[in-house]
């Protein structure tokens, strides 16, 4: 019994080392043979020799690396909720030295919220592109999946985010778990299973459970993104043609307007376009348009490049600001009109 304990300690240390230092390593079940030869002379007899060999079997190590994709380890969920079919993406790589089958499960973790209705889809074709469950190479997970040594499978974990009161930047997590057949509850890392040491447990050598005891997992995060665009408009100045007492401007007075556009929240607002109709009984003052302090010409030439100006057909100003976020700060638009 003591010998087994010692062996387990040694194996755990080596397995932990192997987990970081090696990929698959030598195939499980390989016979490693060592041969020593001695040559010598005795009296007049020269170049006499003798040889001896001995060997050992390479045990199988169960190690799987579960990891969220770098690009999809944190996924923004755009408000409003509910948001269905929100996808995370994981890789499950067999870094052990034998082909083995692993069961995949999802455990959703409550942080500010718990993702709901987890589904697992194996991505086999067009890696990294989700075509829809059952479409193309995206196959709904249906049971333990065999991964060859050094092999990797790509997995979509899909959840719904329910309609609950959530704030900007609230998070919920989803954990993908890969479990080997021998990872019964409480099975310790380094546990040695005799007679299972090759592909799918049919080899003559030993099977050694890796760190985690044959259960491997990692977590990815959903983050709520609430974004709003705030627009305000004010009269910056009124310049009358004549100076007379009273609050109301006279025909011919020039009214200068200031628009302020501000994005609130953690996300981006895409395709932000500001249109402001010229008030009735006023006329847009040519060349009066300024965006963020810089003069903006009135035309839309060249088309598709200059997307800001005065649209005489619709009698409005149109300013394309594109993608904005809170860090971009307030965007200002100034223009003036003359009272008819």
């Amino acid at each position: 019994m003591k010998r087994i304990l010692i062996l387990m300690i040694v194996v755990v240390a080596v397995v932990l080392l192997a987990a970081t230092g090696w990929a698959a390593g030598t195939d499980a079940g390989t016979l490693i043979q060592n041969t020593a030869t001695v040559t010598y002379d005795v009296g007049a007899a020269t170049n006499l020799s003798a040889t001896a060999s001995t060997g050992f079997i390479v045990a199988e190590v169960l190690i799987v690396n579960v990891a969220p994709s770098v690009l999809l380890s944190t996924v923004a969920v755009i408000d409003p909720l509910p948001a269905s079919d929100q996808r995370l993406y994981f890789s499950v790589q067999n870094t052990g030295n034998g082909s083995e089958a692993y069961a995949l499960t999802v455990s959703n973790i409550l942080v500010d919220f718990a993702p709901d209705n987890p589904r697992i889809v194996i991505d086999t074709v067009n890696i990294g592109s989700y075509d829809g469950t059952g479409v193309g190479g995206d196959t709904a997970y249906s049971g333990p999946y065999t991964i060859p040594e050094d092999g990797v499978i790509w997995v979509w974990v899909i959840n719904d985010i329910l309609d609950t009161p959530l704030a900007d930047l609230d998070t919920g997590q989803s954990q993908l778990v890969a479990t080997h057949t021998y990872a019964a509850a409480g099975t310790a890392p380094g546990t040695v299973v005799p007679g299972q040491g090759d592909d799918l447990g049919d080899g003559p050598g030993e099977l050694v459970l890796g760190p985690g005891g044959g259960t491997f997992s990692d977590t990815a995060t959903y983050i709520i993104t609430k974004t709003s665009v705030q627009v305000s408009k004010s009269i910056a100045s009124i310049a009358d043609t004549v100076s007379v007492p009273g609050d109301q401007p006279l025909p011919g007075a020039v009214v200068s307007y200031l628009l302020t556009v501000q994005v609130l929240g953690s996300g981006d607002a895409d395709n932000v376009v500001v249109r402001d109709p010229i008030p009735l009984n006023t006329t847009y003052d040519p060349a009066s348009l300024f965006v963020n302090g810089s003069a903006e010409d009135d035309d839309f030439n060249p088309p598709g490049v200059d997307n800001s100006g005065y649209d005489g057909g619709n009698d409005w100003i149109e300013i394309t600001l594109g993608t904005l976020n809170a860090a971009a700060g307030a965007q200002t638009v100034r223009f003036s009109v003359t009272i008819d």
């Binding site: 010692i6 040559t39 001995t54």
Partner: protein, 164 residues
């Protein structure tokens, strides 16, 4: 077919590892090899010490100790004794681990064609440049005994290698 393969493997294991292998010839000098691992245990005084245990299976990344024992069973002294041990192809020699009393230890990096001291061994790297060989480049280890071996005389040499 697969079961036949494993049966053959099992037989090989029995042949090679149940007891240290002994040369079958009628040579004056015999050689045996053993495969061991170092394990840390507590002795009866509660102190930790390193002991060697037989290895029947090992995991990738594990360091293995190879022990080669030689014995002169003849009635005359044996001269010019040279022990040679290829590093198993699936393993990497652990630098500085080769030992043996009254021996000169040299290595090969060309599959056993030539041997020399470590500082005189060179290989061509991936850039095509000739560079000093590293322990992982060694393919064979050779021990030259500096003394003759009297009848009934014996000795031990050893080295470590890591399973890829």
């Amino acid at each position: 077919m697969r079961s036949l393969y494993y049966l053959m493997m099992a037989v090989l294991i029995l042949i090679f590892s149940v007891s240290p292998a002994i040369a079958e010839s009628n040579s004056d000098v015999s050689v045996t090899t053993s495969i061991m691992r170092e394990v840390e245990v507590e002795n009866e005084q509660g102190k930790k010490e390193i002991r060697l245990e037989n290895v029947e299976s090992a995991v990738p990344g594990e360091e293995i100790v190879f022990i080669v024992t030689y014995l002169n069973k003849g009635k005359l002294p044996a001269e010019n004794i040279v022990l040679t041990n290829p590093v198993p192809r699936e393993m990497i020699y652990v630098g500085g681990s080769a030992g043996g009393e009254t021996t000169v230890i040299i290595f090969s990096v060309d599959g056993g064609d030539t041997y020399d001291m470590p500082e005189k061994l060179f290989v061509v790297d991936e850039n095509g440049e000739r560079v000093q060989a590293k322990p992982e480049d060694y393919t064979h280890i050779r021990w030259r005994l500096t003394e003759s071996l009297e009848p009934e005389g014996e000795g031990v040499v050893r080295f470590k290698a890591m399973l890829k």
